[in-house]
Each structure stands twice: as structure tokens, then as C-alpha cells.
């Protein structure tokens, strides 16, 4: 009974992640790559994402600290753009829809050379990144408790 309740919770959690726009179809694509050879593929890729994206966010924060202390040059915004494109790329790859969307906005403000908007947009990127991390950690924690039968299942929404 408890097992099936937890399974229902897993399905519900995943459905919410999609319904609320945190994840898109790409997440399903990753799940389809999961098999007996790579039973934890999705969680492994998501772990890689948060490791790399946290590092990128740190790099962007450092870049802002430097930029706020001096005259801005077009190449500064180009550098910011490069970092956010990398973040956007890996967000796309795991289906992190809201993070990707915020990165797109951030990239646009970099193209405009608008520092204030870049700063505000970056705060949104960080916020969505933190929220997604929290939600996915909860999801995978529950998935681990449920066990392999739920991991092998397809779409739950």
C-alpha cells in the first residue's frame, strides 16, 4: 500500500514538473534512453547538469562583480553571452524549460548591452535554477525510495 502511494506521488511530482513548465519533452527523451545498462541515466545527467550549471553561475557572478567595478566594453557582454549560452545549452539538454527561457532573456539583454537588465535577468536565472534543483532532488529522492519499477516507466503525465 505504501509502495503504491509512493508511486502515485512520483507520478504526481513528475506531472507537476511538466504542468508547471519546469520540464519539457526533452526530459522524456532522456528517460527513454534509460535502460538496464544505464538504469540511473537521467539522475546522472541531471547531477552533471547541476554540477556544471552551478559552476557556470559562479563564473557569471564573478564576471558581474568585475564588470560592476569598471567601464563596460562590448566584449564584456560577449563574454557574458558565451557563458549564458553554455548554460542555456545544457538546460535544453535536460529539458529545463524555465531555466532555458530565462537564459534566452538574459542572452538578449547581453546583446543589447544593458547591464541593469542583465543583472535582473541573471537573478531570475539563479532563482529558476535553484527551484528546479530543489524539485528534482525531491523527485529523485522519492524515485529512489520507490525503486526500479518506477524508474523504468515512461511518461507519467
Amino acid at each position: 500500500m505504501e509502495g503504491s502511494n509512493m508511486q502515485r506521488q512520483v507520478v504526481y511530482l513528475k506531472k507537476c514538473l511538466f504542468d508547471q513548465g519546469y520540464l519539457d519533452e526533452q526530459f522524456h527523451q532522456l528517460e527513454e534512453l534509460q535502460d538496464d545498462v544505464s538504469p540511473n541515466f537521467v539522475e546522472e545527467v541531471v547531477t552533471l547538469f547541476f554540477r556544471d550549471s552551478s559552476r557556470l553561475i559562479g563564473i557569471i557572478e564573478q564576471a558581474f562583480k568585475i564588470l560592476l567595478c569598471r567601464q563596460k566594453h562590448p566584449q564584456d557582454f560577449h563574454r557574458l553571452r558565451t557563458h549564458v549560452e553554455r548554460l542555456k545549452g545544457s538546460s535544453c539538454s535536460i529539458g529545463a524549460l524555465k531555466v532555458k527561457s530565462e537564459c534566452t532573456l538574459f542572452g538578449g539583454y547581453c546583446d543589447e548591452g544593458n547591464m541593469d537588465r542583465c543583472l535582473r535577468s541573471f537573478q531570475n536565472v539563479k532563482r529558476e535554477h535553484a527551484i528546479l534543483r530543489q524539485k528534482l532532488e525531491a523527485y529523485f529522492q522519492l524515485l529512489r525510495q520507490v525503486g526500479p519499477s518506477e524508474k523504468a516507466s515512461g511518461s507519467g503525465n
Binding site: 526533452q26 527523451q29 532522456l30 527513454e32 534512453l33 535502460d35 544505464s38 541515466f41 546522472e44 545527467v45 552533471l48 547538469f49 554540477r51 556544471d52 558565451t82 549560452e85 553554455r86 542555456k88 545549452g89 545544457s90 535544453c92 539538454s93 535536460i94 529539458g95
Partner: protein
């Protein structure tokens, strides 16, 4: 280009500075039964080509620090030794001028990220029937 190994199983060199994307493209290729070597830069890709003669295809991200996928493409196509190896470019940005530039430089295909299983199957099938 080196001849295919038995069972039409290609050896693909995947190049991407993103560990996430390396994991995804490697798994996509392995699920299609191809052998994959994944590296994180164009420089490492060129080093590997020197060491590993039997690469059947290179699939590379466009945007990478130090050496972009386009620069890697140019180096491969400019090399008498490696120019026959088909190169596929991946990018998360759909920029027509970028796509045209890569295809004109000799890229076999240009895949938009996130790369899907169907993209990999299509590209690999085409390479195997060359």
C-alpha cells in the same frame, strides 16, 4: 575515411565541452550500437585522431571555448589525413548563416540541440550507406 568495422558499427568521436551533452550524445550513439569516444575540446579531438586511426564520424558542438566546432571542422577538412571523415555539427542555436557556413565548409549535417534519437539514427544511417 576508414572502413566500417564489422556489424556496421561506427566509431564516433563526440566533441562537446558540456559534460551533460557529452553524456547525452554518447548514450544516444551507444543506444544505436555505435562505439563512442567523447572528448571535451577540439584540441583533444585532434589529439585523439592522431592516436586513433579508425574514427568513422565526428560529431561536434559548435560553441566551444578555445576551438569552436567550426574551427575543428576546418582543421579536419583541411587535413589530407582526416578530410574524408564526415563531420556533423550540433548547436542549440538555429542561425541560418551559421548552418550555411558549416555546410559550405564541408559539414555533413547540422543538428539542433537537444539532439534526438531520430537525428542520430538518420545521420548514422546516411554515413553507413556512403
Amino acid at each position: 575515411m576508414s572502413s566500417l568495422t564489422d556489424g556496421d558499427r561506427m566509431h564516433v568521436l563526440a566533441v562537446d565541452d558540456s559534460s551533460v551533452d557529452r553524456a547525452v550524445i554518447s548514450t544516444l550513439l551507444r543506444s544505436s550500437k555505435h562505439r563512442v569516444t567523447a572528448v571535451d575540446s577540439g584540441k583533444r579531438a585532434l589529439e585523439l585522431l592522431d592516436l586513433e586511426p579508425n574514427v568513422n564520424m565526428i560529431i561536434t558542438d559548435y560553441w566551444m571555448p578555445d576551438m569552436t566546432g567550426f574551427e575543428l571542422l576546418k582543421k579536419v577538412k583541411g587535413s589530407t589525413e582526416y578530410r574524408q571523415i564526415p563531420v556533423v555539427i550540433m548547436s542549440s542555436e538555429n542561425i541560418p548563416t551559421r548552418i550555411t557556413k558549416c555546410l559550405e565548409e564541408g559539414a555533413e549535417d547540422f543538428l539542433l540541440k537537444p539532439v534526438r534519437s531520430s537525428d542520430v539514427q538518420r545521420v548514422c544511417s546516411r554515413m553507413m550507406t556512403r
